[in-house]
């Protein structure tokens, strides 16, 4: 009995100690660190980065450290997928970094759950001595705000354009498609099949069943994902159904190849199974690194248009998480990273697209690119950004995204009609929105 009583006491003591320390340390209101405890711009800044091996941050941070010896940067790199899990857990545990790179598609989920600080407090609306809002396009400005708060500063942007094997189009006498109908026709002529009716085995057009690509056609067809109040799914209305029908027609009438695994796209380009696809500026760097032998054979053009130009707007944002211990110094570093000369590294190191308006005028971005046959492809993506729309900023975006992917996949696999699939996806989305 004495033994049992002692055991119980130890157990209860351990439980009490643990529960005493278990309460969330982060402020759930989503505001940045209390100004009264914010350090001056000095000390240590912890930076978390998901960019990977080609990150432009390392070079920028090295130069920042020389220019700002009073600030020590603790740079930590993480795998993209692990980052998505580690970031919220760390913020909730009071172990948030001071500055982090985040995929823009994560912004609604993280912002809705109070993980992101309000940059307006630390920036006072200024970026490198000028109004912050003036240094981004209107679409980018909108994408940087959640529920009226400035939750991120866009570091690089993602908007879609058409990548195509110029050498094959020239060889087969095919014009670069500029409309949906021309895309169906051009891909049908470009693709090579082992037999009539078989899926293309050479120079096909990748049809990727994800929300990024469906949204491309939805927005081009003047459609929307949610209504203006962000309360109800509207992608199952005629504009959305037509967009999905068009995606399917690329498989049934065009030279489309159903390609659900984006991780294997580069390999498919390398084997020449894929000769055309729609994707963002970061693919320029991916192609150069992954398929160097096809240098000079590729070109970039505006994505073929439906009723209007359109694309999803994504990219990477710089955030100062809730509970950051040195937000002032973090903002100093963020401003450094957003200087035009530092934004150049986004293109030269990572092959991605810098986001600030001033960076878009950098000479490096308009230089002829030998990989793309002497074309300066960046301007195509810059034009795409001007008409790009970010995904709805709702807390349940993950569930809506998943529902749309299932609907699009179902149609691509021929399981059901576009209307039926999108109605099911809309019902799931409305439930996730609380309707």
């Amino acid at each position: 009995m004495k033994t049992a009583g002692t055991t119980l006491s130890i157990g209860l003591l351990g439980t009490a100690l643990l529960l005493a320390g278990c309460s969330p340390a982060a402020d759930p209101g989503g505001s940045s660190a209390d100004p009264s405890t914010t350090s001056s711009a000095s000390g240590t800044v912890t930076v978390w980065d998901y960019y990977g091996q080609a990150t432009p941050l390392k070079k920028s941070i090295a130069e920042f450290s020389k220019a700002h010896p009073e600030i020590t940067v603790d740079y930590q790199a993480f795998d993209y997928e692990a980052f998505h899990s580690k970031f919220p857990v760390s913020v909730a545990a009071g172990q948030a970094p001071d500055l982090a790179t985040l995929d823009m598609t994560w912004i609604p989920l993280f912002a809705a759950n109070g993980l992101l600080g309000d940059l307006a407090e630390v920036s006072q609306g200024q970026l490198n001595g000028k109004p912050l809002a003036d240094q981004y396009s209107s679409g980018a400005n909108e994408a940087m705000h959640y529920d009226g708060k400035l939750v991120t500063a866009l570091y690089d942007f993602d908007a879609y354009a058409l990548f195509y094997r110029k050498d094959m189009l020239d060889k087969k006498g095919i014009s670069v498609p500029t409309t949906w109908d021309e895309l169906v026709s051009a891909t049908a002529k470009m693709a090579e099949r082992p037999s009539a009716g078989a899926a293309p085995t050479k120079y096909g057009f990748a049809v990727q069943p994800d929300t990024f690509h469906y949204a491309q056609y939805l927005f081009q067809n003047a459609g929307s994902i949610l209504d203006n109040d962000l309360k109800t799914a509207v992608f199952n209305q005629p504009a959305g159904v037509q967009a999905l029908d068009f995606m399917q027609s690329l498989l049934t009438k065009g030279g489309g190849v159903y390609w659900p695994d984006s991780a294997t796209l580069t390999a498919a380009v390398k084997s020449e199974q894929i000769g055309m696809f729609v994707n963002g500026p970061y693919m320029m760097g991916v192609l150069k690194a992954g398929v160097p032998e096809q240098s000079g054979k590729w070109a970039v053009a505006p994505a073929p248009v439906g009723k209007q130009p359109g694309s999803y707007l994504g990219g990477t944002g710089l955030v100062i998480p809730t509970g950051a211990k040195n937000s002032a110094a973090a903002w100093e570093l963020a401003q450094w990273l957003l200087r035009p000369d530092q934004q150049a590294y986004v293109f030269t190191e990572a092959g991605a697209a810098p986001a600030t308006s001033a960076a878009l005028d950098l000479p490096a971005l308009s230089a002829p690119d030998p990989y793309f046959g002497g074309q300066a492809p960046f301007s195509v993506f810059e034009d795409a950004m001007a008409t790009a729309t970010h995904f709805p900023y709702v807390a349940s975006w993950g569930d809506i995204d998943s529902a749309i992917i299932d609907g699009v996949t179902s149609v691509m696999l021929g399981k059901e009609s576009s209307q039926s699939a999108l109605d099911t996806a809309a019902k799931t989305s409305d439930a996730a929105l609380g309707n």
């Binding site: 130890i10 351990g14 643990l18 109070g114 993950g398 569930d399 998943s402 996949t409």
Partner: protein, 275 residues
């Protein structure tokens, strides 16, 4: 007592406390940041109405049935072959056990490449004139593909277990059966199977418990798709966790805990009966 106190404290902190917290969260709306809000059994009610959870339960059940229908049988057959005194038995045992030593992430990644549309498996099928399906991209074949990969990865463990059990059966039982005129099949039925019963119970119950917790290979090979055809209960609750829906994730986890507890109790009862 002082000697076990550290272990007791660690067990309480890292085992019992998380279990209790998770149970409490299952009755709350909680995103891990804002204070948890008590909502009673609403999360459990939601699970009974969520088609995605129903799909996860169904997929988990099918995965368990397929892997347990094939795995132990294959393991026993392999053990019986190895028990016949083949040369280099140790080498064969190691070869069959090798996949068990690989992490499921490695197994899943390797088989994802092999089962690709233009992968090795379909290339072999093409040599004999068969056009292989999209193993992992077709909802009608994805779960079966992942299940068979899991069988490949795990049957070596069952082989080793059964082989040890077979080698523990006294030889004189077979001699006695032979004296009574029993043939090979009759010896198997009358001597081998009864002697293997405790091992069979262990393998099946432990195997089912493992199958009900399948996640790694689904994550690596198919990400729970296509069309949620490979989403299991654990995959479902991980998705809820990643979307900061800790209440629903905890409720799903406790549904699984109850099922696993019942299975463990069944195994314990059957083991006691055999003893």
């Amino acid at each position: 007592m002082p000697l076990v106190a550290p272990a007791m404290i660690l067990t309480v902190i890292f085992f019992f406390v998380p279990m209790i917290l998770s149970l409490v969260w299952s009755f709350t709306k909680y995103n891990g940041m804002a204070p948890a809000r008590w909502i009673g059994g609403a999360n459990y009610t939601y699970l009974t109405q969520d088609p995605a959870f129903h799909t996860a339960v169904w997929n988990t059940a099918i995965f368990a049935v397929v892997t347990m229908a094939i795995g132990p049988g294959l393991g026993l057959a392999t053990a019986l072959l190895l028990n016949r005194g083949v040369r280099a038995q140790g080498l064969f045992r190691s070869i069959f056990f090798l996949p068990v030593t690989l992490s499921l992430v490695v197994v899943g990644t390797m088989w994802k490449v092999l089962l690709a549309d233009n992968g090795f498996i379909n290339q072999c099928l093409a040599l004999v004139g068969i056009h292989g399906p999209s193993w992992l991209e077709d909802p009608s074949t994805a779960l079966l593909s992942v299940s068979l990969v899991s069988v490949w990865a795990g049957f070596g463990f069952e082989t080793v277990i059964f082989l040890a059990a077979l080698q523990g059966i006294p030889r004189d039982l077979y001699e006695a059966a032979a004296l009574d005129g029993a043939g090979r099949y009759q010896s198997f039925r009358a001597v081998t199977m009864p002697a293997l019963r405790p091992t069979l119970v262990f393998v099946y119950v432990v195997g089912i418990i493992g199958a009900l917790q399948a996640y790694d290979q689904m994550y690596v090979m198919t990400r729970g798709g296509p069309l949620k055809s490979t989403t299991t209960i654990v995959y479902y609750l991980m998705e809820r966790f990643q979307r900061f829906d800790l209440g629903t994730a905890s409720a799903a986890a406790y549904v699984l805990v109850v099922v696993l507890a019942l299975l463990s109790a069944l195994q314990f009862r059957l083991s006691r009966r055999d003893a």
